[in-house]
């Protein structure tokens, strides 16, 4: 019974990592940028949810505002910080991403203070749970798992079946060829950032409910873990990010369950190193072929 409840626990955590990892992976897939500001977008999302809920907004409105806020923020960051560097070396882009991350953290500290605030999770999602046999399952777990699954299904349809999804895949394979086929590469890239950030917004809500303490650097570790998940699954691959997210979530819960809660982060990064030694492109990553 303990196993089942830990399994659900792991799925819940894994769902959050998967949602965040998708944003990393999609952005990497399209412009080969490790968007280190992604975790901090989640932090901003968390604060938006915190304030809208405290001001007595309906949970659905709060959720919508959070997702919209994250999306707009990502678009603004992309336009101001990354678009001017479209043809710059990738290292400049990476350093800019780290800069944006630090900027967001410090702005949050300036405006929201560095003190932790508790997140009113009970205002967002119903408390309590249902009994499955002898296992008590919290509503928050169920809602988290289902919401992520639905988001991922929509994302998969979007990428596989729609015109924009095909454009995204085309741009990620060959930007110049896509441009010559009449695809507006810039707007496709912006759209990719927006989708990734919308998923991060959902992730922010779920994460805040699970770990209800808000502080300006809360996104850093979450972002790093999600990055590990994306690399673990094969960065650039959408199913890989989902798989990696769940794998890392499960692993963390497992390590905690056997009583090594202090070792969680260490084990996660250890596993990453081991996977990369065996499969440098991740579980579902394509082998990279250099053009000659």
């Amino acid at each position: 019974m303990l196993f089942v409840s830990q399994l659900i626990n792991g799925l819940q955590l894994g769902s959050i990592y998967a949602l965040v990892a998708l944003g990393y992976s999609m952005v990497y897939g399209i412009i080969k940028l490790l968007n280190f500001a992604h975790g901090d977008i989640i932090m901003v999302g968390g604060y938006i949810a915190l304030f809208t809920l405290t001001f007595g907004q309906h949970p659905l409105i709060a959720a919508a505002l959070t997702v919209a806020g994250c999306t707009v923020l990502a678009i603004v960051i992309e336009k101001l910080a990354y678009t001017p560097l479209r043809f710059a070396p990738r290292l400049s882009l990476l350093i800019t991403a780290i800069g944006v991350s630090i900027l967001l953290q410090n702005l949050a500290q300036y405006f929201f203070s560095a003190t932790g605030r508790s997140f009113p999770g009970h205002l967002l999602l119903p408390q309590g749970g249902i009994a499955l046999g002898s296992v008590q399952v919290a509503y928050t777990s169920i809602i988290t798992i289902l919401t992520s699954l639905i988001s991922m299904v929509i994302l998969t349809i979007l990428v596989r079946r729609t015109r924009l999804g095909k454009a995204m895949r085309a741009v990620s394979e060959d930007q110049d060829a896509a441009r010559l086929m009449g695809i507006n590469v810039n707007s496709v890239i912006t759209f990719t950032f927006a989708v990734g950030a919308a998923l991060a917004g959902i992730g922010a809500l779920m994460y805040s409910v699970r770990y209800p303490l808000m502080f300006p650097t809360m996104g850093a570790m979450l972002g790093l873990k999600a990055f590990v998940a994306a690399v673990f699954g094969g960065i650039g691959s959408i199913p890989g990010a989902m798989l990696g997210g769940y794998a890392i979530g499960m692993l963390e819960v497992l390590v905690t369950a056997v009583g090594l809660s202090g070792w969680v982060d260490g084990v996660v990064f250890m596993v990453l190193i081991c996977v990369l030694m065996v499969r440098p492109t991740g579980i579902m990553g394509r082998s990279i072929m250099e053009k000659v």
Binding site: K166, E173, R179, M181, I183
Partner: protein
């Protein structure tokens, strides 16, 4: 006959009284101190098949890159249906009616054959994102139309049955053909083919020639091709421009080009100018 001023406009008879679809006027580009293309003038009729030939490094692909706005010209202009393309980028040039294939194939290799064509159809599908996610009926209708259009285009090369295969898994010749279909999907007015027969065997080349003529007739578009296979160029092109060291050295019908001493010299070197065999060079 035999020689025609390379700067004078020249289109086949049936297009002579129609406005040209594309005109290049004194087009030129420098890379640093190197003049890659200079003084390039060409006039293409709306239904013409014309060819661009010349030794390796003569600047043929550079001209394609200039036309499709991969490079911006240093000098001169390109007019598409009389409109100056000066302020266009690659996307706008494509929307204005220029589509191309590449010398080294650049398909979206991890996407399926049909999806590659659907990417080409990108700008002709009209549903928005909201419809795709919310209003399923209209989305499915558009998507179905696009898909059947894609298969229709694939039929030109008899590829409609392999629509679900990965583009990267196709044999070389089929990848070249798919690239042409993908370019056609963007509804071009001028189709630019960069060495379409490269790597093809004689039978495949023969088939390609028929298909190029078919595309020209069915879609009523102009085709400009770069090719080293003289059998193809002399067989289907109505007008041919010969490029050497970035300059157009001759222009004319296949017969005129074969007789032109300057062309023979560019290909074979001096002293052979009495040779009649300008048409035997192959890739």
């Amino acid at each position: 006959m035999g020689k025609r001023d390379p700067k004078a406009p020249f289109v086949p008879h049936r297009d002579a009284y129609k406005a040209p679809i594309m005109e290049c006027v004194n087009l030129g580009i420098d890379f640093g101190g190197l003049t890659a293309v200079n003084d390039f003038c060409i006039t293409i009729g709306p239904t013409e098949i014309c060819g661009l030939i010349g030794p390796n490094g003569a600047g043929k692909t550079t001209i394609f890159n200039l036309l499709t706005k991969v490079y911006q010209p240093t000098r001169g202009s390109v007019y598409l249906q009389g409109i100056d393309t000066k302020d266009m980028n690659s996307v706008k040039a494509n929307k204005a009616g220029l589509a191309r294939t590449f010398q080294n194939i650049r398909l979206f290799k991890n996407m399926t054959v049909a999806e590659n064509v659907l990417v080409g159809l990108h700008n002709s599908i009209s549903y928005g994102l909201g419809e795709a996610i919310l209003r399923f009926p209209s989305y499915w209708r558009e998507e179905r139309i696009a898909r059947s259009r894609a298969l229709e285009l694939l039929e030109i090369f008899d590829m409609q049955d392999i629509g679900d295969q990965k583009a990267g898994s196709l044999p070389y010749g089929a990848q070249r053909r798919l690239e042409i279909v993908r370019a056609l999907a963007t509804a071009p007015k001028v189709l630019l083919l960069d060495e379409p027969a490269a790597g093809m065997n004689p039978a495949e080349t023969e088939e390609l020639m028929e298909n190029i003529q078919k595309i020209n007739k069915v879609f009523k578009i102009a085709i400009l091709l770069i090719e080293h296979d003289m059998k193809l160029v002399m067989g289907i092109c109505e007008g041919i421009g010969v490029l050497n060291y970035g300059r157009l050295i001759a222009k004319g019908t296949p017969a005129e080009i074969q007789r032109n001493p300057l062309v023979v010299e560019a290909y074979l070197g001096k002293g052979q100018s009495d040779s009649e065999s300008g048409g035997e060079d192959s890739a």
